[in-house]
Amino acid sequence: MNKTTFPLFFACLCILLQGCQTWYALEYKTESQPIQFGPHIAASKVDTLGLISGYFKQYSEEEVYSESENLSITLGGEDYMEENLSYTVYRALEDNPEHFIADGFIEIKVKQGVTFWGFLRNVIAGAITGEETNGGGYSTETIRYIGVVYNIHEGGSNDEK
């Protein structure tokens, strides 16, 4: 490998690594109520009502594919999304328009690997075609929002506490 080939190969590898990105987002749409990320900086009194959390989870499992001269086989594979923001976070605000959420933080979890069933599908597909198999891996991305529900105390001030 000469002096120019290696940097070129490295640059291509970096571009390839950067290209493989799928972003899963946590975003909210409400009528008018704020869902604040940081603290609520208040000059006047607010009532703390409790904690609330909602999450978004994306799960994807690749299908297993194997092909021989006159036979190809595809097994499994699925993609699903779970979210309970509307049942918890939105509902809390819709039922109580005077409430708002602040002091929130985000908990992120990602996982990547192969499940036992993914592995088993690889073995079955390989046994049927007698050739090598591809796929079977899974990945999950979970984003959870945890925040504090507040109620604005009209006319009060922090000095009253």
Binding site: A25, K29, P34, G38, F105, K109, V110, V114
Partner: protein, 179 residues
Amino acid sequence: MMKSRINIVLLTLLLPFILFLSGCSVGASVAVNAKKVEYPVSFTDSFYSSDNQLILNGEYESLKDFSFTFTKWGVSSWIEIRNSEDISNRLNKIIENENGDAITNLKISVNNPPVRNGVLWFTKAVAITSSALFTVMAVSDSDRRGGYTAIAAGSTLAALFTPAAVDIKVEGTVIQFHE
């Protein structure tokens, strides 16, 4: 001697099943917070000002959209060790640079980097296989027990603490309002 060889061959065949029976994976867990942010930061297009006034969309001027990305590493997927990242300073600086008063429409996105985590997952699978294989070899071969035990212990530690990456993107709009 023959019996121990048969045991090793059987175990080598069984290892992939043992490995995948538990579902081999790498993972990361990260908490993102902004405990020290000095301005209102809202996921929606409204927020409460410091004097408890609800500021709605249309009552403020959008100054600039911003976006930044960072990578965090999770230490282990077996033992839950949660990393945390406080983005308060970055948010404070973004607002101050634009002479803004708050951030609205905050969006936090996650990318599970498939190539990086795929390589780490493969490393972990090799470490688990090596750990199990050398444990059996240490039990069955008393002459080289010390060396095999050391390799098995090293592989177990490598498998336990295989890291995983997560890319996090933060986007939003800096706004200005006049009280």
